[in-house]
Every structure is written in structure tokens, then in C-alpha cells.
Symmetry: C2
Subunit: 583 residues, 2 copies
């Protein structure tokens, strides 16, 4: 945890109602300036004195208040950090921002804020008719996500948002995999910040790969501004899958926004450099039929570590490599100049791209004939199975009660990699495959990760385990409002909040986003009267409403969009409202 | 490393030529007293003044020396630590020891020391006729080992002896596996200290097992007085094999000394408690034909970690479990009262012993049909092979140049587990099996561990790779004298020194010690004229001399002993000298 003094003060100025303070972090040497000004609206006299000490800049205002009279204090504050401008500009930028605000005045600022939030709710609101508590929970989550997310491409969203010091404010894969979709389909401008944030970390990721003796780029498991901040590498750096998680986020972003400008200028470089990483850590293994194997990795399930051929990792690496080939091919045709530029910048050759294709095509994809499931990795199914229900409640989460050595040796999952894979890459797996794997992994999953329940809820819906789907959803939707885990004092769970959104939209709403577009297989819980929401996709905005009989689609913005309902294609035209029967 | 101030001073007394100091370590709270006295033999006058400061007790002696006259200063020093007596007794014990010494005087002390060393060399000396440098190297090693080893059952022998701070003075498995045999067959009284040292750590090992959620006892990977001192558990605590290494040491000790008093009172308890550990961490695995598997361990080769069914570990655990059953059966017959006592003390039941037998019988012993070798673990042979010769010299040892993640994913060994197993449990494997495994593992072994070369030397002899055997031996015998690795400034390599002894006795001398006795298959290097040595075994002492034509055995002490030469049994009688032709 962040303990002891972390900030040093480099300068303070106070002058009447105005002032600023310049501080910096001790170790990472980030600096920030905070500037303020005040307006006092009062018919009575008041005294005011600037106050300051070594770490404080402020003003003390004394008013002799009288009953029935009105006193207004308006406070303007701005912050700038050294990640947004040079250190020299910090103070002047902060002062200018306050001046700007004061110029506009509170009415303008309030109106702007209101407009912003109205717009947000118009895009993002979900209406659950039939359960006020859930309705409240979902809105609470969406609001917290909006409050927590960075508004620029050098910040992202922390595991605890801005509400607590848990996880030291670091950014994890949660952002890319769990949280990004919420913004992508509601406020895509913010989603662009997510992928640009990763682009801005690419140099650090290249450096990290080199440090470890690899080619390409390896993103840090946890970081604020680029360097790897995880200490225990088997549950940190070994989670190479973060590279492919980021690539999936880029891919989904581009597919949903058609922002090829981003792809060609920035995204492609991420995809090529991460593809290189896979080629660098994987090998063709003779005793595996010369398949391309990726050994010694940790998957999303941190209850095993340093395993070989983690299914999630191999499937996702394959996607990463294939996407690299696809982009290279497309760019050569459609944006040859942009391709030349990026290829030159990172010295990318056709030979390398052929090697990407070869590794992707020959990727070792684990499958157990004996169990008819995808084994989590090469050794997982040869470990002793522990039924999660047999673990006493006071020994959970087992992470806090057992040594890693007493976890890694069992078939026990914090969250299941294989099922997450089947959610993220749903187009690759049949319902029967999904069911077999779900049935295998569910009993050994502890859900000790708050990321687990939402995925189970969505997949349970897909299989037809409707009551399970609802039960898992109930564990996510009001988690922080009702403080289920008794730890909201440490801050909110942003990924769980976004997971609850996904559970509604992708689970009950049944919306899956594949390369060919939006697919819907809704499954309204019997407890609800109706569910309605809006999503943005390829410069269109659609409205969806599901009740126990019908599903209504309406194209609000955009000229036309093809979507799929139960595998039937529906062509929506602007303003058109289509009603279909729920099957 | 040990940096900063580690000792605190608790008391000092100086009085004329005498004095003492009482100090203790800051963190582990060990205390020790050092006491001294002096005698001055001089015909001239001298001044003497006690000196002391916060950390110093001493005496300053001023003599006006004159040419041609003789001055003698005799210094008596003794140390006692709080591990040998109570803290209250420290000072008086140290003072008494000095008084004793002064009473005896230097002549007696010198004579005792000379007798001790004469006896040692009479038992332990090896004569290599034909290479003076090797002769010197071997004697240097033996002397250093004797200097370094503890003389009580609460101390042992450090990786660097008493010559350096490397490895923080901790005790490792090196003691039990590599160093103990040297003492066992030359100075068995010291070997008894090795096994008693482990017995004295048994409570701490029980505590450690419990901490980790296991039954029985888990010995620390590195320690001074019991607690686990390794920080990185994948290359520390996960090396459970240390339990069986200690048991093998107990077994070899008892077989060589027939010290059943030790076995029944102490050794048995070690063997039962470690057998429990294996039962507790292993499981019967359905997909492995319900064999007893031991998952998530690290073998002796630290270039892979947290693997399943490490061959070395499984074979050694099987030995441990079998030995527990054998001891239980023997004790019930031969020492029922002692058995009752230990069984009661640790609540050992027949049901548990049956479970030991069952696990031993069903132990999963990895074998690769495809490669006709024992795979190091379940995943090792599915990794990419790296030829050790392809690693540039300036990147060795790779441990210091690569991240673990860039080591664990390859078939590359610091030292080979499987070959070590084949050495330690030689009676289980045929020469053909040994050759196949040797040929497989040698090219991928970096010998980054100083423990590696001696084992390769011995096994190369067994296979008939005589020039290799000699080359590997040359890497061990004068390692520190010639400072091969350029790091003797950090201290000697005690295990390597003992390994050189083994390479001579077990390799060129061809002596293997199996449960049924001593086996000889000598292989004198063509570079030598002859090799002779003595070994102690079952209260006998034999002399062995090998030249290019003959091998001579002579029973020096003991009434009779059966030994094996090339599988022929030879019965030696006291004083009898038997000459056989070298095959």
C-alpha cells in the first residue's frame, strides 16, 4: 500500500483569494500543479487572509453571518500534471484554467456539466422494469465508471477508480477486457482514450520486452505510466496474455468505430509489436507434432502459474498473430503509405509477417479427448480437483489463506480462463462446447476474483442456465452499493461494475459483437417486465427493448445497420422501428 | 548479503590479561560469549593494560624488545553460543573453557590437535600417483572440508564453509547429499552430527509444514537454525525434495554405521514425518491411471520450477515412503518399545503406514516411450531444447543474465535432476538406461551449479565415457585452488570439494554403496599410475589400491566384511589382503 509521505512540495504561492501549489511524487518524479481562486458574494463585510505552510496553500475567510442573509462562496480549482505538459508549463496552465473557469462563471460550467451528463445518460442508460434496486445498482455503476475513467489518452481507469488506494492506482487488463466495452458501445470517444493510452505505453512495452530478452513489446501487468510494477512475476509479468487482451481491445475498437485513422497510425504498431512478442516466446515443439507452443506463462486464472500452453493465452495469441497478418494485408492495399511508415519505423518485414501467419496457423490449441473439454493448460487436468463449495467460507478468498504452493497444485480456479476465452471469442465455439466446458469448470471456480461472476452470468444465459445466470448477475450488480464483500471501504470495483453492464447487455440482452456485426439472442429474466438500452456501433446508435413477448430495435442515429437476431439478419434503416417475437 | 551492523554488545569485562565479551545478533537473537586469556613468557619486563570500548575487549602489551632475546605470547580463546547452552551459562562456560586450555597448556593442545589430524589423514587421505597437482587439490579439499564442518549436532556445513559470507552462512541440501558421504565413509562421528542436526530441526520443519497447510514436516530449503530463509519460493520452499534428501542421508548413515540407536530414537521420526509430507502434498490422479502424483514442485535443477511429477522428487519420495514402511516393520519386530514411543509421540497409526505403502507402490514414475528416457517432469520434454554449448560464455551462468521467465520455458538444466537420481539411486537403473539419459541431458546442461560436474564425472565413468569423466573431474578437483570460476574471493565451494572426493572414490575408484554393501567397478584414468584410499563401513575400515593391472583390498579394522567387485562377492577377513585383476 501507499504508506508514508509520497508527495514533496516544490512551490507555493498565495495572494488574496488566489494561489497555487506545486508538488511531486517522491519516487516516480511525477509533478502536478493545483491552482485555485475564489469569489465571495456577500452584502456583508468579510475578512480574508491568505494562509500557507510547507504543504498548504489556501485562504481563510471570516464573515460575521447574520440570520436570513445569503453568502455565496465560489471555488475554482484546476490541476495539471507533468504527464500533460512540461514542468515549466504546469503552474501557468493551472492558473489559466482557473481564469477560464472564472470567466465562464458557475452558470456556464454547471450547464456544460449538465449537458454532458444528459448526453451520457441518453446514450448509456439501461432501464430495468421490475426491480428498482437493480435499476439503482446499474445506474450507480454506470455513474461511477464515468466518474472514474480518465478523460485523456495518458490516463485510464484504476481497479478502484478514484475512490481508494487499493492496487496503488495501477492499471491492469481489467481496463481493456472488462471496462472498455462499456465505453466502446456507449461513449466511444472515451474508448479511443483506452486504446491510445496503450499506444502511448508502447515504447515502455518495447523496453520491457528487451529487458526480458524478447522481441516486440510486452505490456506491463500493472502500471501507471509504462514500467512494470508487479513484484511477483509468476502472477505478474508471466501474464503475457495482456498483450493479446490489448490487441483484442484494439480490434473491437476498430470494428465498432471504423476508426481506421487510429488503426493505421497507432493500432497497427501495437498489433505488430505484440505479434512479435508471441513469436519470440513461443516455439515449434517436435513432441507436440511441431505445433507452435507457448510455454511458461500464467493465464488469467492466477490460481495456477507458469504453465505451458494455457488455452486462453494460445487462442488469444493466435488471434493477435492473425490480426497482425490481416492488418498488414489490408494496409498494403488500402493504406500503402501508412504501412510503409509503420513497417519502416519498426523494421517489419514480409518474412516476419509470414512467420506470424505460420505460427497462427500452427498454434497448439489444447483439447482433451478424454474429457471433451479444453484443458486450461498442459497440466491442469492432471491435478487434483477441489470442489469450490467444499472450501469453508472463512477460508475464502483462498489467496489470503493459503500459500501459493497450496493453491497451484490443485484444479481450483480464481476465475476460469477457458470460459472467459469462450466469452471473448464466442464465435469460435459451439453451444455444446460451451456447455461442456462450463459444466467442467464451474464446480472448481471460487469466484475469488470479482471479474468472475459477470462472465458466468453471461455464459449461463447462453447455455440456458437461466436461474444461474440471474444468481451470478445478482452478485455483481449491487456489489459495492450493498458492500457484498465487506470491502467497499477500500474503494469501488470498477471492473465488476462494467461486468454488470456486460451481464445485462451481453447476457440478458444477449448482444454479442462479432467481426460481422451485432448479434442478439435475448433472455429476459422472468423477474423483469422489460429491459431497454442503447448501444453505439459503427457510427450508428440503436435502441433495444426486450419484454417477455417482443424485442424492439430502433435505429436512432446513422443511416442503416445490419444486425442479427437469432442468426437472422435484420436491416435497420434510420428511424425505423422493428418488432420481432422473442423465441 | 549481510550488510550493516549485525551484532549488538551486551556485556564486556576486561581484567589484566583476561576478559570476555557477550554479543548477540540483532534479528535472530542468537547470543555468544567469547572469553580469552594470555600468557607471556619473557625475561624482560613488560607493561600490560586492559583495553575496552563499546565493542572491544582486549589487552595491550608493551615490551621493549631486545635483539636476540625470545618473547612468547600464548593466547587462549573460547566461544560459546546460545544454541549450545542457556544464555546464563554463556560467560561461565567460555571462561571455564579458557581455564581448561590454560591448565593443559599449549603442548598438550598442540599434541591433541596433531593426533586429531594424523588420525584424520590416516582415515581420509587419498593417494593419486601420477599427478602432483591433483594430489594437492584433493588434499586441500579434504582439509577445507574438515575445517569447515561443525563439530556438534546443532551446526552443519555452509556452502562457503567459514571462508565467506556467500549464501549468508545458510545450510542447504548440499550438506546432506554432496558433503555428508565424504564424512560418512571417513569420519562417521561427524556424519552423525549431520543427521542429528536435521533431527534437531524437526520441530521447526513440522511448524513449517503446518504453516503451508501440510501434514508432517517440511525442511527449510535454506536455514541456520530451523526457519525457512529462502525468499523466492519457486526456487526455495518448492524444492520439497530436500525432505527425501535428508531421509536418504539418514538411510545411508544407518546402513553404513549400523547406528540403530540413532535410527530408533531420532531417525525414524524424521522418516515418518517426511513421509507424511509426501502423502499430504501428493494425490491419486484419475487421468494418470490413479497413480500417486506429486504436483507443483521444483526439482534440484532450478532452471525449471513449479513442475508436476519431477522424476527426481517422485523417485526420492517413493524411497522415503518405502523406508518409512520398512523402519516401522523392523522396529515393531526389533524395537517395539522404541516404536511405541515414537508412534505415540507423533500419533502415527498403522493406517497411515498402509497409506505410505500404497502411495509408494502407486507412485507415478515418469517415463517417455518416445524418447526412451526419464523425462525430468511432466512438461520438460515439450519445451524447446537449448544446446548449452550455444550459449555464449559471457552469458553464463544464465541465472545471472536472464530473467527466470526466459529460462523456465526451455529444456536447459543448471544441473540435471534425472542424472543425479541415477547416481543416488544407482541400484535402480541399468547401464543402458543411464547411457540414454546421460546422452539426452548432457547437451542441455550448463553446469551453472558447482554441484553438476562431479556427478557427470562419476556417471561418465559408469557408462565408459572415460575421457569425459576425467574432463569433468578436472573441473572440480582444483576449482578453488586455481580459482576456475574467479569467485574464490567470496569463499570456497564446500559441496564441489566433497563432490571431487566422490568423483575419485565413486567414479575412478568405482565404489557404489547400495543397501547390500560396497560395490566396486574401478576405472583408473590412464593419466594416473595408481589410486589408493581408505573407507569406513559398518565398523570396518578397508584400504583400496588400484593400478592399471590390479586392485588390492585390505581390511584394516573390523573382523570381516563382504564387498563386491564387478558383481563378484569378496569376503574380506581382518588384515587380509586380496589382489584381483582389473578387468
Amino acid at each position: 500500500n501507499i504508506s508514508g509521505r509520497v508527495l514533496e512540495t516544490f512551490g507555493i504561492k498565495t495572494e488574496g483569494l488566489e494561489g497555487w501549489i506545486l508538488q511531486g511524487t517522491k519516487r516516480s518524479k511525477l509533478k502536478y500543479a493545483c491552482s485555485y481562486d475564489h469569489e465571495i458574494i456577500s452584502d456583508d463585510d468579510y475578512d480574508m487572509n491568505a494562509v500557507s505552510d510547507a504543504d498548504l496553500a489556501g485562504v481563510k475567510i471570516d464573515v460575521d453571518v447574520s440570520s436570513g442573509r445569503e453568502y455565496t462562496l465560489i471555488k475554482y480549482i484546476s490541476y495539471y500534471t507533468s504527464r500533460e505538459c512540461t514542468e515549466e508549463e504546469l503552474i501557468s496552465n493551472a492558473l489559466n484554467e482557473v481564469k477560464h473557469g472564472k470567466n465562464d462563471g458557475p452558470d456556464v460550467i454547471f450547464r456544460e456539466q449538465k449537458d454532458y451528463l444528459n448526453k451520457f445518460w441518453d446514450d448509456a442508460d439501461i432501464i430495468i422494469d421490475g426491480n428498482t434496486a437493480l435499476q439503482q445498482g446499474i445506474r450507480f455503476n454506470e455513474f461511477q465508471l464515468l466518474q472514474s475513467v480518465g478523460r485523456s489518452d495518458i490516463t485510464n481507469i484504476c481497479a478502484k477508480g478514484l475512490t481508494g488506494e487499493g492496487y496503488e492506482g495501477h492499471y491492469f487488463w481489467d481496463s481493456d477486457v472488462y471496462i472498455m466495452p462499456f465505453f466502446l458501445y456507449t461513449v466511444p470517444d472515451i474508448a479511443r482514450n483506452f486504446v491510445m493510452f496503450r499506444y502511448n505505453l508502447l515504447d515502455a512495452a518495447r523496453k520491457r520486452a528487451k529487458e526480458l530478452g524478447y522481441k516486440g513489446a510486452l505490456y506491463p501487468w500493472r502500471t501507471i505510466d509504462g514500467p512494470e510494477c508487479s513484484a511477483f512475476f509468476p502472477a505478474g509479468t508471466a501474464q503475457y496474455h495482456i498483450d493479446s487482451d490489448i490487441v483484442l481491445s484494439v480490434k473491437k475498437y476498430v470494428e465498432a468505430t471504423l476508426d481506421y485513422d487510429f488503426l493505421y497510425k497507432y493500432g497497427a504498431e501495437i498489433v505488430f509489436e505484440t505479434a512479435r512478442l508471441w513469436l519470440s516466446i513461443g516455439s515449434y515443439i517436435p513432441l507436440r507434432g511441431n505445433k507452435f507452443c507457448i510455454n511458461c506463462v500464467t493465464g488469467p486464472d492466477e490460481y495456477t502459474a507458469l504453465v505451458d500452453n494455457n488455452a486462453y493465452t494460445n487462442y488469444m495469441a493466435k488471434m493477435n498473430l492473425e490480426y497482425a497478418c490481416e492488418i498488414a494485408k489490408d494496409m498494403k492495399n488500402k493504406a500503402p503509405e501508412a504501412y510503409r511508415k509503420v513497417a519502416e519505423k519498426i523494421a517489419l518485414t514480409q518474412k516476419e509477417i509470414d512467420a506470424f501467419a505460420d505460427a497462427a496457423q500452427n498454434m497448439y490449441l489444447p483439447y482433451s479427448e478424454e474429457l471433451s473439454i479444453i484443458p486450461q493448460d498442459d497440466t491442469f487436468i492432471y491435478k487434483k480437483r477441489i470442489n469450490a463449495d467444499d472450501i469453508p467460507q472463512d477460508e475464502k478468498p483462498i489467496l489470503l489463506h493459503r500459500h501459493y504452493l497450496n493453491i497451484y497444485r490443485y484444479q481450483i480456479c480464481k476465475q476460469p480462463d477457458v470460459l472467459l476465452l469462450m466469452y471473448l471469442r464466442g464465435e469460435l465455439f459451439s453451444k455444446d462446447e460451451l456447455k461442456k466446458n462450463y459444466d467442467y469448470y464451474e464446480p472448481i471456480t471460487t469466484h475469488d476474483s470479482s471479474l468472475s461472476s459477470s462472465i458466468f452470468s453471461i455464459l449461463a444465459n447462453d447455455i440456458g442456465y437461466f436461474s444461474k445466470a440471474y444468481r451470478y448477475f445478482m452478485m455483481t450488480s449491487r456489489m459495492d452499493l450493498d458492500d457484498y464483500n465487506g470491502n467497499v471501504k477500500d474503494g469501488i470495483h470498477t471492473a465488476c461494475m462494467a461486468g454488470a453492464w456486460s451481464a445485462v447487455i451481453s447476457g440478458f440482452g444477449g448482444m454479442k459483437v462479432y467481426s460481422d456485426g451485432l448479434h442478439f439472442t435475448p433472455a429476459l429474466p422472468k423477474e423483469w417486465n422489460s429491459l431497454s438500452f442503447k448501444v453505439k456501433y459503427r457510427n450508428c446508435r440503436i435502441y433495444v427493448r426486450i419484454d417477455d413477448k417482443n424485442i424492439i430495435f430502433k435505429l436512432l442515429d446513422g443511416s442503416s445497420l445490419d444486425i442479427y437476431l437469432y442468426d437472422d439478419r435484420i436491416s435497420l434503416e434510420n428511424g425505423e422501428r422493428i418488432i420481432k417475437e422473442v423465441l
